[in-house]
């Protein structure tokens, strides 16, 4: 299998998930709802946002999410990822921002158990994770729900959200990341 899987194969395959979910059970493609369902299952604490029937609304999606994890595991086993090829400019930019390990799916100097004890590892993993959960709940969706399903359905709210995704991502990449390196 070519590495990486070319965009013109990967993109359409991901796009087909939207009609597949609609045809199987009229379900909307969107991963971040699962965070809400898990909160509702584990710690609703009388909060209105978590008072919905998570099993009825979200069991299908939690099952989909379990599949995501297992699918990635099987894919690693069948066709392990090759070392990443970055353009010289991106490589130089990231090195200037203090990244030196380019061997894995993530830089281990930022994402590993020991790196959690460093400021950069802590901010990237814990604060970054918190913002993913808080931001997607506030915006009512993530890359799958807004950038793919929402834009495909030509929803204006999703376009606004995706502009926000990129504004935040650019700010963090150019301003925050070099500061932490």
């Amino acid at each position: 299998m070519p590495h990486p899987l070319p965009w013109y194969i990967a993109g359409p395959l991901i796009g087909l998930i939207v009609p597949a979910l609609l045809l199987i059970g009229n379900k909307p493609f969107g991963i971040s709802s699962n965070f809400r369902h898990i909160c509702a299952a584990a710690a609703p604490c009388g909060i209105e946002f978590f008072s919905h029937d998570w099993k009825r609304a979200g069991l299908w999606n939690l099952t989909f999410l379990a599949g995501v994890c297992v699918g990635a595991t099987i894919a690693v086993w069948l066709a392990p990822p090759a070392p990443i090829h970055l353009s010289p400019r991106v490589l130089a930019d990231l090195q200037a921002a203090g990244v030196h390990d380019f061997t894995g799916l993530v830089p281990r100097e930022i994402f590993s158990w020991s790196a959690l004890l460093t400021l950069r590892g802590l901010v990237a993993t814990v604060i970054g994770g918190f913002l993913v959960g808080f931001g997607t709940a506030y915006a009512g969706g993530c890359t799958s729900g807004h950038a793919i399903a929402g834009l495909a359905d030509r929803q204006l709210a999703s376009l606004v959200a995706v502009c926000g995704f990129f504004a935040g991502g650019l700010a963090a990449s150019y301003l925050l990341l070099p500061l932490l390196g």
């Binding site: 993109g11 991901i14 909160c39 995501v68 297992v70 990635a72 990822p81 790196a115 495909a152 359905d153």
Partner: protein, 137 residues
């Protein structure tokens, strides 16, 4: 019947890995406009999904209970929740190098420390739920 959802999720997870969408470096490359790869994936996914939705609409396909099939419209309102929530998520996306699907796929792909990021994301969503009545939308 949950099996089809599990299989679709597995296919999604496998594609995310093989196309390197779950690579922190690919996300940084995207935000630094270093390659067409991620833009090509997102754009072609939108085109295929959009065309499919249009076909479903034209054929007026119905669900098992006779309901019309499609995505529920999102109310824009003031748009503030999309701007503020979207920007906060974007910062998290660039820092972790992963949106929610890839966070979970990374754990499956052998980066177990991402369970900490997922736990933080759950705390983040819970915090939003707690603050929701006081946040502008």
């Amino acid at each position: 019947m949950l099996v089809p959802y599990f299989l679709l999720g597995s296919a999604f997870g496998a594609v995310l890995l093989e196309a390197e969408v779950i690579s922190w470096f690919r996300i940084q490359e995207m935000f630094r406009f270093g390659s067409f790869h991620m833009y090509g994936i997102i754009a072609s996914a939108i085109v295929v999904a959009g065309t499919s939705i249009e076909i479903i609409r034209r054929l007026q396909l119905r669900g098992p209970d006779g309901e019309s099939i499609g995505l529920a419209p999102k109310q824009l309102g003031s748009g503030l929740r999309y701007v503020a929530g979207g920007t906060l998520f974007g910062i998290g996306w660039a820092l972790t190098g992963a949106c929610p699907g890839p966070l979970v796929a990374l754990v499956g792909a052998g980066v177990p420390v991402m369970v900490v990021a997922i736990a933080s994301a759950l705390v983040g969503t819970w915090t939003y739920g707690y603050l929701r009545p006081r946040l502008p939308h």
